[in-house]
């Protein structure tokens, strides 16, 4: 969705019910997917693709609305996963309570970190975010914290209770957890879309466009970006909780630069100016890594693919499709 679409011109308003109906049909059809995939490898890959897609949505939102490259989304993803796992293992929390508190932890940490990093210049912002994720990776792997975090081996946990009607233990089954991942992706994407279309979203983009003019128009330019950053941290926390519940595991690698890079590249692959693009990018990127890995050339082919995407479709794989649809609409 380009910024032009976000402005909701009259023509867009006409198309809104059509896209709304189409989106509802796709949403409902998504629940039938496990019946066709029959669990196993494809379903598992799709689950990972959508979780990466949620992280890519976070990165895309910050890029599109705030003009910043968030190269450290793994921090909030990992914090939520670890808090969830620790609360279950060390304090006996049920899955829903642990998940809720994990999301709160992701939100609060993103708010506090955002309050500091949002003031700095874009390059410093990127490097501080990346450094924080690396710092967290080392922190949870510390031998002195092994009893709580599992050290460098990570933390296996067995949650109890039900989340949205799904038994926590069943979530280890890739087909059973799919409805939760599918719904969560739609909720996160929907919220990002609504925020982007809202007055608050326009305000964020205006700050990105011309912060000085915003201040001279009487706006506070600091807190809106901190709030946006906190919201993005919460969304990344959703991905972290889903990953932890779907695998029964939280590992230091969740904080790694690879997690942040994957989210960033997935966002670039899909395109950052829509909510569909990053999710699609997450799925494509996860599939590509998996396929290229099976050939034994994961990093080589992934690198080549990313370069090709950036060179030939810099606005993401969804952009050519959108142009085709627009042409079709005119004809």
């Amino acid at each position: 969705m380009t910024s032009a679409t976000l402005s909701l011109r009259p023509a867009s308003r006409v198309r809104l019910p059509i896209f709304g109906g189409l989106a509802l049909a796709v949403f409902l059809a998504g629940f039938l997917l496990p019946g066709y995939l029959e669990g196993g490898y494809l379903q598992s890959m799709l689950n990972n693709g959508f979780i990466t897609g949620i992280l890519a949505l976070c990165v895309a939102f910050v890029m599109h609305q705030c003009g910043l490259v968030l190269f450290g989304i793994a921090t909030y993803y990992g914090i939520a996963a670890y808090v969830c796992a620790i609360l279950v293992n060390s304090f006996g929390f049920s899955a829903p309570s642990a998940a809720a508190l994990a999301l709160l932890a992701a939100l609060v940490s993103a708010f506090l970190i955002g309050a500091i990093v949002i003031r700095v210049k874009p390059l410093a912002f990127m490097m501080i975010c990346l450094s924080l994720a690396e710092l967290m990776r080392h922190l949870v792997a510390l031998p002195s914290l092994r009893g709580m975090t599992g050290g460098s081996d990570g933390l296996v946990f067995m949650p109890e209770g039900r989340i949205l009607g799904i038994d926590a233990m069943d979530m280890l089954d890739s087909a059973r957890v799919w409805p939760l991942i599918w719904s969560a992706t739609w909720v996160v994407a929907g919220i990002f879309l609504v925020v982007a279309l809202s007055h608050f979203g326009v305000r964020l983009r205006a700050i990105k466009e011309n912060e000085e003019r915003m201040r001279f128009s009487g706006f506070d330019t600091y807190w809106p970006r901190v709030l946006a950053f906190a919201g993005v941290g919460l969304a990344a926390g959703v991905a972290g909780v889903l990953q932890a519940l779907a695998s029964g595991f939280a590992s230091p690698e969740m904080f790694s630069i690879i997690t942040s890079t994957n989210a960033l590249l997935a966002a670039i692959t899909g395109g950052v100016s829509s909510v569909v693009g990053p999710v699609l990018g997450g799925v494509i990127y996860t599939w590509a890594i998996s396929e290229f890995g099976a050939m034994g050339y994961s990093q080589l082919f992934t690198g080549i693919s990313v370069i090709l995407v950036i060179l030939f479709i810099p606005r993401g794989v969804l952009h050519p499709l959108r142009l085709l649809l627009r042409k079709g609409g005119r004809a």
Partner: protein
Amino acid sequence: MIRVENLTVAYGAFKALTDISVDLGQRGQVHSIIGPNGAGKSTFMDAIVGKRRPSAGRIFYKDRDISRETIQWRRKNGMARSFQKTSIFPGLTIFEQLDLVATHLDEPDLDAIIDTMDLREVLHVEATRAAYGVQRRVDVALGLIGRPDILLLDEPGAGLSAEETVHLFRHLRNLAAERNIAAVVVEHDVEAVFALSDLVTVLDLGRHLATGTPAEIRANPQVVAAYLGTAA
């Protein structure tokens, strides 16, 4: 409306403005600030709107010392500015940006501003795609939102032809009269300034040289020597 007392603004050892005292901003009037390059006009404007903190001296607005007030406070209390280089939101449509600021500043009649600045036909155009003259009008329109008491314009004619500058000044004069606001304008085009200003202040090398009506300024020997030369 604005009283500047002994204003000094320094960048390190260099004094951009030295001990300036002047009254600005009569409702319904256009008050222009002129002077050669490096006279300190833009720094003077920046100090008034809060972008530069005074090194010494004070700025009063409606008899309140605002020297330490934030930019946002000044805007919300009726002090608006436009910029030397067009300062709008290029990626937003013209309506999006006007609506955003109007909502924030509780502007009761955005329609009137849109019509006054002749922007109705281009409302859904992304600002970056609009003609330069339109962008300048959007810049001024953003300043008009929220019924400001004083509008400070930094070289509103920059990049416009002489004819367009005179047209813009006429527009400003009408606006000042219709909306009963004070317009303070920094401008290079001396002919436009003398033709359409009520009062003129001249700065030279960071110092206040003179303030008066256009006729008084034209006749001031100090101003003629320092700035106008034989051109006046």
